[in-house]
Symmetry: C2
Subunit: 583 residues, 2 copies
């Protein structure tokens, strides 16, 4: 998977039947080095007779390490109630252990556990190592232990790089809980959580450090997950942490250019009828293939009847989108570094060969900003079209992924593109929790919502692409005049999602809207929300193919959210469509 070394966690070794030398050979046969043997607990500051026993224990472990071919051992700060404090006492213990280690050709790295009894801060661990003043004793830094306690990161830069024996890296969602519990259950890959791992790395690189960067992740979910996905994400997270200029930078996204739907030839009429009812207009046919281009304002939909032979497709589904990026070639280079799949020669025999990438089942076409944006349209013959009096923009796309690939999907977007996770919401579906992460670029011209449900009884779970090629769950299109748009789509016969009267009574009580506005949104099944800045309108279509839906939104006075407060009402209404209303 691209890794160069492996830490041997002691318990994994202990349960193994093979002798240390045999394990050494296996590791070496895989082309790996053993970067660390760990952990060695409850060493420093022990009173007798525990002190002598700890030294005996260490000697025995050093013997085994030499058989294993492991040069460095992690000693974590003491958590034992028997331990006695004192920087100098600890330094004396490490100096004595350093002499033993020297004789056995072992290096000792001391790490401050965030919940250590006396030493819980890397600055104190460093002071002990500094006073120990022994070539075989250094410090081990772990981003979680430092970031979870908000230890000042500048302090890292003052440690000489040769005294940093190894650096362990982990991220985590920002929870306010017992540090040990948080660490044992919720760590995740750098970039998947909320900690300032990049800031930590920047300070580390300022020391000139160029030794191991190691992932140390404890996560309940990861234990159950697909190990290939976990390994891929771990590797990517390390790529993201490399020094500037080592690897081509993340790509800037300009905008979503189009959304492509796959369709079976016999269902071409149905999807075209749907697009017509959404207010879209047919503007072109592909010159050589059964591909049709529809447009509404700045939103382009492509219907592709060439790939629907794929068994995984339903009647028709959105399965890919096109992104305008600042440089396709450098994007592809970064894809290669990140092991993102480059689907070659997808549009065979086309004049304009678009690049297609794929990850976790998500297909993305890349379009170069430097060329004329319209180049890809050179494959199409254009036809006359009637004028549309409303504009429309892509607002955001929501995808629905398996719970086990939620963080993987977040990491994919953050690794490849210049974008950030801007929010993280739990949506309470009556059958379980749906987690919703929002990824946005800085200019907010690219916004993707990644939803995952813990179980399949939730709506998100039900819409998860078990039989569809795509994981696109809904497409939100932005208008400046939701009421005019609502009128148009009703005239065109589009069915919108019926929202309960009780919802509007509550909106009335909550926001005190003018009666005329309230009546209007109720009549048109428009949902309403406010944030500190502005207000928001939403209309949902009914479920299409029981797998995806459209949303029209209007953002007023800088509303920045996604109507998360309304999600339960949307979900409830959609569930009724699937199951029928229980009365």
């Amino acid at each position: 998977m691209g890794f160069e070394g492996v830490e041997i966690f002691e318990n994994d070794f202990l349960v193994h039947d093979l002798k240390p030398k045999e394990i050494k050979k296996i590791v070496s046969d895989y082309g790996l080095q053993i970067s660390l043997f760990q952990p060695f607990r409850d060493f420093e500051g022990m009173p007798e007779p525990y002190r002598s026993r700890a030294f005996d224990r260490a000697k025995k472990k050093f013997d085994i390490m030499n058989e294993l071919g492991a040069k460095t051992i992690l000693v974590c700060s003491n958590t034992s109630n028997l331990a006695v404090g004192g920087i100098d006492r600890a330094a004396d213990d490490f100096n004595e252990l350093g002499e033993i280690a020297k004789n056995q050709n072992i290096f000792i790295g001391y790490e401050a556990l965030a919940w250590g009894k006396y030493i819980s801060d890397h600055r104190d661990a460093w002071e002990i190592v500094r006073r120990t003043n022994h070539n075989n004793v250094g410090i081990i830094l772990d981003s979680f232990h430092t970031l979870s306690r908000d230890v000042n990161l500048d302090s890292i830069a003052s440690i000489p790089k040769e005294k940093i024996f190894i650096v362990q890296i982990a991220d985590a969602p920002k929870y306010n809980m017992d540090l040990l519990f948080w660490s044992r259950h919720f760590r995740n890959m750098p970039g998947q959580g909320d900690l300032n791992v990049l800031g930590f790395m920047q300070n580390l690189y300022n020391t000139g450090y160029d030794n191991w960067i190691s992932l140390e992740i404890f996560n309940d979910q990861f234990r159950k997950d697909n190990r290939d996905v976990i390994a891929k994400d771990g590797y990517r997270s390390l790529i993201n942490l490399t020094k500037k200029n080592e690897i081509v930078e993340r790509t800037k996204i300009e905008k979503i250019e189009f959304l492509e739907f796959s369709v079976k030839k016999e269902d071409l009429d149905i999807i075209q009828a749907l697009f017509n009812s959404l207010g879209f207009v047919k503007v072109g046919h592909h010159k050589t293939k059964n591909i049709i281009l529809y447009v509404f304002g700045n939103v382009k939909f492509i219907i592709n009847a060439e790939i629907a032979s794929n068994e995984k497709n339903g009647k028709f589904n959105p399965y890919a989108f096109g992104l305008v990026v600042d440089n396709v070639q450098s994007t592809l280079k970064r894809c290669e570094a990140l092991k993102v799949k480059n689907v070659k020669n997808y549009y065979l025999n086309n004049e304009f060969k678009m690049n297609l990438i794929e990850d976790n089942g998500q297909y993305i076409f890349l379009i170069d900003n430097n060329n004329n944006n319209k180049n890809w349209q050179s494959d199409f013959n254009f036809i006359d079209q009637k004028n549309q009096n409303l504009n429309l923009e892509f607002d955001h796309i929501a995808i629905s992924v398996e719970h086990s690939t939620l963080l993987s999907s977040v990491l994919f977007y953050k690794s490849l593109f210049e974008c950030k996770k801007t929010s993280n919401t739990d949506i309470i579906d009556p059958s379980g929790i749906t987690k919703s992460h929002v990824i946005e670029n800085k200019s907010k011209t690219f916004k993707i919502v990644i939803n995952s449900a813990e179980n399949d009884e939730t709506l998100t779970g039900q819409l998860r692409p078990k039989k569809y090629i795509s994981n696109i769950q809904h497409i939100a299109l932005r208008t400046d005049d939701i009421f005019e748009l609502s009128k148009q789509i009703q005239d065109l016969g589009l069915e919108t999602l019926k929202i309960s009267d009780n919802y509007y009574d509550d909106i009335d009580a909550k926001f005190g809207l003018e009666t005329s506005i309230l009546e209007k949104i109720k009549k048109n099944n428009i949902l309403y929300d406010e944030d500190n800045e502005g207000y928001f309108f939403q209309i949902y279509t009914t479920l299409i193919n029981n797998s995806f839906f459209f949303e029209f939104v209007q953002r007023n006075h800088g509303y920045e959210g996604y109507g998360a407060n309304n999600a339960i009402f949307r979900i409830s209404a959609q569930k009724k469509l699937i199951h029928g209303s229980r009365t």
Copy 2:
């Protein structure tokens, strides 16, 4: 399921298509009352214009409540950043709202959220209610909000019972984390967690309170679980909280009397050979049925070849155990109150009719302590037997349950018997976490370990009874001389679980055992552990039928644990048996 009322959580109502009056009718048709409408947020201490809007909002909700037939509304303490503090200001707001409520025939219950901005303690909420001094305004207590902040429980007894409008009850595992996060994700049924709910109830009953006791549980797991199990557990947890003498008390367990195995007739030879190799001796045959009694010291095993026709059985499996209790009739009465299944007439045509109960797939025979314990043996003809020079006792039984029934199983034992959950360990299986809860009676003559795995890749998950009637995973038998016992079973040809050499190197480093002892335990695959009190020996058998195993243990100098430190070694060795060792 036995409940008398239902709280209407506002969002559940809002997403519903039916009008309030129609919902009122449904609730009433189910024979239920609406005990509460909730929550009403961010009311007290708001500055204008929010204050007026909050009053308007309340009036609208009161109208809806009257249509719904809900008399009481929960107003939770304000969490808004806009709110202004002050007991008297809040009391004034409530007095004004109380007048409005009075006119609309509504009662207002004020609850201190543990994370309220100014009011987070029920003592402060009560002071506001006291100063409000309005008949339509009272307090609502919630055990979680009080217990999570360790608020002195005596303070409850000073509230006049008529001012307590409703009491909500929840338990939770004792985690140290953000209160809101803890409350939203980890609450569970009273008796399933670690909070002092019984102490809370005792103080509540001291006020003379006799109004609603309501379960308010937010739990991620429960959302996914079987609703019948959740409802049953909720009901049981309320039965457990009833006042003294309302329901027959929990039963005292004296000991485990026997373990019963089901077997297919054609496999009788195999199971008897197994028991012989464990050192057990055949002592009797059932007078009329194909049932055989084996004994080793005080441990009795029953082989039942009469029920193996059940498709769910494998070749042979432990599926039930017999408990000596202080009173079978009162146990059965409590079973009835708790809705525990009483399997009637299980031993048809026997002289001694044993009572059998079942819950969550666990079968338990009940044997009266008042009668002669041996009565059930009157069904057997006894045969001559050779002497055994070692004694043996039941130490504990471990069952393996689905993750979703872990808490349900804990609650079952705690509800029916006088016993406690004494520990709660996470065992790190390489494929996921196995949760292990220990239930013990006071005298420790009954000990049961309930294991559940989050996924089926873990050993606990693999041993889960998908095709077996029983969930008994292992049976631990206690000896006073593990070395003599080890010799005997080896002479009898019993295969024990091979433990890795690396394990013993670590035991050596950790505990510094005498070389002779170390050699002896290593040679005999005996695992070792220490706690603050004493030390512990364990021998495991190999897996039997890929579904269960035996363990021999010796407890020295008051060791009280279960060798949890060794669990990963046992699991790893067993996994190798299932999958073959990967080298």
